[in-house]
Symmetry: C2
Amino acid sequence: MLSRRAWGREVTRKTIHDVARVAGVAIKTVSRVLNDEPNVREETRARVLAAVESLSYYPSLSARSLAGRRSYLIGLVYENPSANYVVDVQHGAMARCRQEKFRLFVHQCSGRDEELIRDVMGLVDQTHVDGLIVCPPLSQSPELVKALDRRKLPFVRISPNDLEYKSAAVDMDDEGAAREMTEHLIELGHTRIGFICGHPTHYASGQRLRGYKSALKDHRLIFDAAYVKQGHFVFESGMNAGRELLTSPKPPTAIFASNDDMAAGVLMAAHELGIAVPTALSVAGFDDTYIARIVWPRLTTIHQPSYDLAWSATDLLLMSLKNGTAMKATRLPHKLVLRESTGPVPSAGPVPSAGPVPSAGPAPSASL
Amino acid sequence: MLSRRAWGREVTRKTIHDVARVAGVAIKTVSRVLNDEPNVREETRARVLAAVESLSYYPSLSARSLAGRRSYLIGLVYENPSANYVVDVQHGAMARCRQEKFRLFVHQCSGRDEELIRDVMGLVDQTHVDGLIVCPPLSQSPELVKALDRRKLPFVRISPNDLEYKSAAVDMDDEGAAREMTEHLIELGHTRIGFICGHPTHYASGQRLRGYKSALKDHRLIFDAAYVKQGHFVFESGMNAGRELLTSPKPPTAIFASNDDMAAGVLMAAHELGIAVPTALSVAGFDDTYIARIVWPRLTTIHQPSYDLAWSATDLLLMSLKNGTAMKATRLPHKLVLRESTGPVPSAGPVPSAGPVPSAGPAPSASL
DNA sequence: CGACCAATTGACAACGTTGTCAATTGCGTG
DNA sequence: CACGCAATTGACAACGTTGTCAATTGGTCG
């Protein structure tokens, strides 16, 4: 237990040898106990565990990954700038890892294409992670998938664009969810429904637009391209698109944004223009992140189970690592969350403010 | 380069031996080049680097930390539930790590007291991190600081409560910032200023309250405890405190919340009560997180440089690791950010709404 | 021209664990 | 009571790197 180096800040580190000595067994036996291997007498196992406990011993991940075929490390790679989504995903994955005594290595990727691949491969090679959780939109990169396959590294993708591909993945039904939301608006009587698309490179963007279109079609409403604006999943893009829609000659009575950030942007635009929500305009979001509950009025949105998606992805990965079994694709349920930002269609279309906003003229606790 | 194990999913991994062979040198020389050690002829160095490049070789962190006294890993421990803060801090630390070819191991702590210490020590022992970045409120735990000192592990604390303590830390002037904000409100003519405290166990909470009090005193305004409410840094607590303040007999004309989440809660309360912001009520936040820019009206707040704090903390740690020098405490500047949620004091105090709001008619499916 | 010293390079052990395989123990059976 | 086989345990190499220290190279000076 004495360190071989006499260095200032060096402190003795407990090793498997210390445990073996205290328990009066060989290090290999300690290793067996710690790895739940069979063929250890119950009494021996107890002695070893007692020694581990009394020494507060924690096996070195470095040594383990160097000697064994396991690093007990899972990598989580993302690129997404949305703080709330990222944290949800991180915590979902961490929670599952903790249950299996794995640790999560979080990595924000940098670069694009070629460089991205190098970045991820560098992570894999350096840290020896046993597997990877890949967040969107990285999960939609065929090049990355190919590279990981070549590398023979187990990985699970969150919300990829091709569930049928042989690799494992978890996702939700973006198209169906968007259809439900659109139907909700239609049922409220809206016929002029604006839609703000997400970032063009995100697969989910296309799916959500498709759901919107399909709901319109089912209800025999005509699709008008003028009601569809391009956004980029960020607040400002939603605000700009909202302004455009609301100041057009025949403005929509409802706007469905592809995520909550952009919906918040639409709310901002409406407030600026003095358009009351939901009386004169209904606004709907997507994702049900934290901001959906703090903006005013609170957003009707689709609950995307980010935490659960990450939890399930990690579960899939860990189980396949443990059993060597193949992984399957999993689809998680979403939920339409009704709050105060949507309401019945106004009788006469949106009411332009009679002047600079009456600031919040209004709204004694709509609901609650 | 051939793996010793013939295992299904095993793939040959490039090692230092491969690089040495390609470059025609001993592995130790490769090691020297990769660690920027002196005494390598320029021509040799170039040959080695070329080999590294051509093989896409990445040294194994496991082997490095096992053999050397460096793991090239920095741990980041937090407990904070605020997504925006956490992500800012993570990215600030990651950015600095990347520059030095270090990696960041993010860890959300679990447990309290005894259990917390075990959790952190487990991380340290297992991962061999070279140092730790400790976020508030963990940075204020004397037990944790003591344990890390005993373990002789270099660490930097973000926003601790005792800058003079010998360990390194970075922080901002919470008291001064709160004083500035309060003065801003006073200059706008407000004399009845509500204050919502942060979580009682966070040191910053006390500092911000102190700044508020000191500004009142400097301007000869009387401090009235009825205008101070306890919050917990979360949205709901701000909303509740806001309701209490605004429905009191003599409501304040301005409310200063100790963070943006709670300020957003106050806005929600004001909207519900039909109180116009900033015409009838000014609202100020603290932190300048993402939400300060997306609520309506956008929040006047104090910019807390979370990203920079983490960047600097990491910088301090890495530099001390590299040079073996002692670390100093660093204080980063904050900034008063003026937006639309604060304005001149109304002539006749807050204007209660004249009745059920014209706009937010009750929403469908009230709260969820 | 030879010796000496600094610069450069390499051989090999060590880090703390797991994989392999051999040795030992324990128990049921003939 | 000895034998055989399975269960249990241990000895030792290997993982991929860095630390230590010795060997080699190259240049300078007397």
